[in-house]
């Protein structure tokens, strides 16, 4: 776990003793920081400064609602329409649409490509090449190195075409959450590091072993799918309530118990 740093506001000077120094690795700047050559590192948002001496990186931890695309993020996009060689997808409302090429699916060729209708949800990655702020973001549902989908692809469709994607089944629904909460859900150890145990509780004994699946997008959207529509609504409400009220572990346990009791 990275040591906790101080609160910073935009334009404040960062104490040079806080900047990690590593003999070999170059310093990596994460979100919320900008480098003014030659030596200044200045925060651009209000948040907490986090440094990681092992990876020689530093970033600002903060919460917001507007997603700004950055390469290699896993996001939940919605197809708007199809052009001759790509789909146009919505990542966040009112921002420029992202392109998803027809051939960026597992096993897709010019003859066999997935037919996606407008409104279809896609779990996709922002390509490493689209780092340029002057370009609209580009998405992919296939790993460029292995050619495998790795769980990316259309969500919530019965029998997806050309075998691409996870091909999840059953009814599902998308819920909006804050970006900080989405990042916490995506942590490898979200219970220990992120303090989110609500999904485990719902599937465990507190929630009576509900069966559901989720797909969390960095863009502040989470898809919940289940055979039963009741479960979908319950899980979505539990997630949104945990995010909005900022519940701790004990609060989440109480919320799950309350929701399960109400559902019966």
């Amino acid at each position: 776990m990275a040591p906790d740093g101080p609160l910073v506001l935009p334009g404040e000077t960062i104490d040079p003793s806080l900047v990690p120094s590593h003999p070999k690795n170059p310093l990596r700047l994460g979100p919320g920081l900008r480098h003014i050559p030659p030596t200044d590192i200045v925060p651009t948002v209000a948040g907490q400064l986090i440094t990681n001496p092992v990876k020689n990186s530093m970033w600002i931890e903060y919460n917001s609602n507007r997603y700004i695309p950055s390469p290699n993020d896993l996001i939940l996009a919605q197809i708007l329409r199809s052009t001759t060689d790509a789909y146009l997808c919505l990542i966040t409302p009112y921002s420029a649409p992202a392109t998803l090429p027809h051939l960026a699916f597992e096993g897709a060729t010019k003859k066999t490509r997935p037919q996606l209708a407008p409104g279809q949800l896609v779990y996709a990655r922002i390509t490493p090449a689209s780092a340029n702020r002057h370009m609209d973001p580009e998405l992919e549902c296939v790993s460029a190195t292995t050619g495998k989908a790795d769980g990316l692809g259309p969500i919530g469709v019965v029998g997806t075409t050309s075998g691409s994607g996870s091909g999840s089944t059953g009814p599902g629904c998308v819920f909006d959450i804050s970006l900080g909460f989405a990042r916490r859900l995506l942590m490898a150890r979200s219970r220990e590091d992120g303090g989110v145990g609500v999904l485990e509780m719902l599937g465990g004994e507190e929630g009576g072993g509900l069966a559901f699946e989720t797909a969390v997008g960095r863009n502040g959207r989470v898809w919940v799918g289940s055979e039963s529509a009741r479960t979908v609504v319950l899980v979505g409400r539990a997630l949104q309530e945990t995010d909005r009220a900022g519940l701790g572990m004990e609060g989440q346990r109480r919320l799950v118990k309350k929701l399960v009791r109400e559902m019966k």
Partner: protein, 255 residues
């Protein structure tokens, strides 16, 4: 130097659907601001290399007119300096400021169209916009603080300065000034009205800088010169800092 108003108050994230929002009340004015951005700009607002900052001011009653357009243009040029507009080409950052409450003026019918600029409200608008931008997490170069000062000329002796003057005080004042400073101490906005000398403006500048850019620890010797603590006026930078501290602590409760 005298001040008339109580300490400012603010709440962040009051509007659930906006990307960022703030409610701010100080010196009798209450303003709610919302920020959305960076979002896709309309074709006519689009700029190839930087984001367009759109400021909309809505008065407490009725629809906005020329006065609001004038205030918008002043705020727009100041806020463009603060936001890192070059990071978001072809985008739009939309800032809407709704005046909810303004102090009543017992002496003048407020319905009358006044040709002059409304000085007393400008610090509240500026402060709300900055807080809403911070709440939305829009990347910024620095933060800003603003204050209004009126110069009342006495029959004899030196003119007195009134910080956060009432509407009545501005009408009877010799001159009125609004100044905003960035967190680096740079002058961001300076609007003045009325008759004043360069010397008077200098003292207004020093007072406003003291209010907006006071560094946290105060020196013993300085306080002796400025005599009573009460006359030093509000500390806007400290206020901004503590408001944001509360917000970040709430957001990162899980850490």
């Amino acid at each position: 130097m005298t001040t008339t108003a109580a300490a400012p108050e603010a709440a962040l994230g009051v509007l659930p659907r906006a990307d960022g929002s703030a409610n701010y009340s100080h010196a009798g004015y209450t303003v709610t601001g919302s920020v959305n951005g960076p979002i896709e700009a309309q074709r006519r607002d689009e700029h190839a290399y930087e984001a367009h900052v759109d400021v909309v001011i809505r008065p407490a009653a009725g629809v906005g007119g020329t006065r609001e357009r004038h205030l918008e243009s002043i705020l727009q040029s100041s806020l463009t300096q603060l936001i890192l507009v070059k990071n978001f080409p072809r985008c739009l950052v939309q800032i809407v400021l709704q005046v909810e409450d303004s102090p009543e003026n017992d002496y003048v019918n407020t319905k009358l169209v006044q040709a002059s600029l409304n000085f007393a409200i400008m610090p509240a608008l500026m402060q709300t916009a900055v807080l809403a931008l911070l709440s939305a997490g829009v990347p910024m170069r620095a933060t800003a603080t603003a204050t209004a000062i009126a110069v009342m000329r006495q029959e004899e002796g030196a003119p007195t300065l009134v910080v956060d003057p009432s509407t009545r005080a501005i009408e009877t004042a010799q001159s009125a000034h609004v100044l905003a400073f960035t967190s680096h101490g740079g002058l961001l906005l300076a609007e003045s009205e009325g008759d004043f000398t360069v010397k008077e403006w200098d003292s207004v500048y020093d007072t406003a800088r003291e209010i907006c850019c006071r560094s946290a620890p105060t020196k013993e010797g300085m306080e002796m010169v400025l005599d009573e603590e009460a006359t030093r006026g509000p500390d806007m930078r400290q206020f901004l800092q503590s408001t944001m501290e509360a917000k970040v602590a709430k957001d990162l409760h899980w850490k």
